[in-house]
């Protein structure tokens, strides 16, 4: 394992913040291994994304502008990343730890007979040995996963765990030919529901509401103004999404988004383990909950016990005033 490949997730020419974080980390790892760092961008929007990432310190950006990437389920992506890996040779492949990222990691693992380290927040290279650090079981333990040196390795990277740092002398853009492979699983319909998705993972402040909100209305009339006062975004617990109060794209936790903003305010959320794993790495956690014994009080930095409907509007006023 000498080189590093970054799989750049993109949709309609836009990518996520985790891409820049991975590109920056890839440079450090490649330097430590004495190899190259290569980004792979696939699909119709690939050229547009290549422009956005070329200020980051990778050696090359491989592009394949194949519309099949949007027309079929994952198979074309698996195919192209496998090809790229086989061209580059035994390497460490960085993939974002998202829904589709995990699918890709599993598929490649079998095709490349690779090891996988999941939900990685730190990578340490010592004398060619790649060790990936991940918090597990809601933070009850930390695993160090060593990827075998002679094989391919895959690390799924937790969004927000690494720092994005532009730089480098300009990556070389390499256009690759569209493959004549055929794929079976055509996407017949692709519906976008939530729009706040990118904003949520990238917001500096997340105001998350739970079952304690009692309905959809408080998310727009109460939590949104507080989020606006901070310049942040609104998120939710699974209970709130299941109740249909907000779109699933706002859900934070094991089966939703992982966020780690500098400030997380949980409003009427009990702090179940499945919620905790998605927000535990936030810088500062504040909870507003009428129950002092809710599990969230065990890991929040500050818990204010009381009725959210009375406290939040007051807080919005104070924050708005303080920011002026």
């Amino acid at each position: 394992m000498k080189n590093v490949i970054v799989y750049v997730e993109q949709k309609k020419g836009a990518t996520r913040k985790v891409t820049f974080e991975m590109l920056s980390e890839a440079r450090k790892i490649a330097d430590a291994l004495g190899g190259r760092a290569v980004a792979v961008v696939l699909g119709s929007g690939a050229a547009q994304v290549a422009e956005q990432i070329k200020g980051y310190p990778v050696d090359a950006i491989q592009l394949v502008e194949d519309p099949a990437v949007e027309q079929f389920l994952l198979d074309p992506i698996v195919h192209y990343v496998e090809l790229a890996a086989k061209n580059v040779g035994p390497s460490l492949i960085l993939i974002p730890n998202t829904l589709s990222g995990r699918d890709l990691a599993g598929r490649l693992l079998a095709r490349l007979n690779a090891g996988v380290a999941a939900d990685v927040t730190e990578i340490v290279v010592t004398n060619g040995r790649v060790e990936c650090v991940s918090p597990k079981l809601g933070g009850a333990l930390v695993t160090h996963c060593v990827l075998r040196a002679g094989d391919y390795g895959i690390a799924t990277i937790r969004p927000g765990a690494f720092t994005a740092a532009p730089g480098g002398s300009g990556a070389q853009i390499e256009r690759h030919d569209v493959s004549n492979a055929t794929y079976a699983l055509a996407i017949e319909r692709d519906v976008e529901e939530g729009s706040g998705e990118m904003a949520l993972e990238e917001a500096p402040v997340v105001i998350a509401g739970g079952r304690g909100m009692g309905g959809a209305e408080p998310f727009t009339s109460m939590l949104k103004p507080l989020a606006d006062a901070f310049g942040g975004a609104v998120g939710a617990s699974r209970a709130a999404a299941d109740a249909g109060w907000v779109s699933y794209s706002l859900q934070i936790g094991q089966t939703g988004k992982t966020v780690s903003p500098p400030l997380y305010i949980a409003v009427g959320i009990s702090g179940a383990i499945q919620h905790k794993v998605g927000m535990r790495a936030s810088g500062t956690i504040v909870a507003i909950n009428k129950d002092a014994s809710a599990p969230i009080a065990e890991f929040a930095d500050l818990t204010v016990v009381g009725d959210a409907f009375a406290i939040v509007p007051e807080l919005t006023k104070l924050v708005t005033a303080a920011k002026q």
Binding site: A114, A140, V146, V191, T255
Partner: protein, 262 residues
């Protein structure tokens, strides 16, 4: 239709987790073993499909786990699965995702299936890489995070959740799907189910039965895993019960200003 559901046995997600400072491993003693919560949704989806498709459809649960945990699998039978197969062998110890998925795929080939229903993520390892790896090793299409499944004439039409919406995709059997939680809340076992489960078969398979040879366990794994106690938790938080809402809001603002967050 033969439906097989994969189920992992994990420490109770709500149980207290401690690390033994000597072995650096999770202390299993005193923590109940349960079916991975996500896999109960996969099982629920399979049971609903069986009810809808009817005929001679069956639901078989498959689990790779130490034999000592066998009884924890009864709940799946009590929920309505027709039978279970367990792959247990000391040689499987220390398997990583590659080695686990590889061994599981050999067992699943032997069991045979039309539809393989897999959970999305486990509560312990939580790599989420097993489903994709299984699909590749088994050479079947892989449709993940599915919330709706319709089967007619060997064609499977699914609705799958994406990061920001959903997609509709059609594929052919045999296939692997993973379920989203929105597929439906898992049922509770009925009293009749619980009684019946005691008599349902749990077939045991060994590494020799599946012909995995040496490709098992820690030696065949592509990773080496060490676990540690987490770094010291963030300083114990403050819990404040304010006089009135305004005081509560002021407490938060003062705290955030002290941390330079406002």
């Amino acid at each position: 239709m033969k439906i097989v559901v994969t189920v992992k046995l994990v420490p109770d997600p709500n149980g207290v987790k401690n690390i033994d400072p000597a072995t650096k491993r999770l202390v299993r003693a005193g923590v109940e073993t349960v079916i991975n919560p996500y896999d109960e949704y996969a099982l629920e989806a399979a049971l609903q499909l069986k009810e809808r498709v009817g005929g001679d459809s069956t639901v078989t649960v498959f689990c790779m786990s130490p034999e000592s945990l066998k009884e924890s699998l009864r709940k799946a039978l009590a929920m309505g699965a027709d039978g279970a197969v367990m792959l247990s062998d000391a040689a499987l110890e220390g398997s990583d995702v590659w080695a686990s998925a590889h061994a599981m795929s050999l067992a699943l080939k032997r069991i045979g299936f039309d539809l393989l229903v897999v959970g999305g993520l486990t509560d312990d390892g939580s790599t989420g890489a097993v489903p994709g790896a299984l699909a590749e090793f088994l050479g079947v299409p892989c449709l993940t995070n599915v919330r709706k499944i319709d089967i007619a004439d060997g064609k499977v039409r699914v609705e799958r959740e994406t990061d920001g919406g959903y997609q509709e995709v059609t594929g052919a059997l045999p296939m692997l799907v993973t379920t989203a939680l929105t597929i439906g809340e898992p049922r509770y076992p009925s009293l009749k189910g619980i009684m019946g489960a005691k008599k349902k078969p749990i077939e045991m398979l060994s590494v020799a039965d599946i012909g995995a040879g040496d490709a098992v366990g820690a030696a065949a794994s592509k990773t080496e895993l060490l676990s540690f106690a987490p770094p010291p938790a963030r300083g114990a938080g403050k819990i404040v019960t304010p006089e009135d809402p305004a005081a509560g809001a002021a407490t938060i603002l003062a705290f955030l200003q002290e941390k330079k967050l406002v």
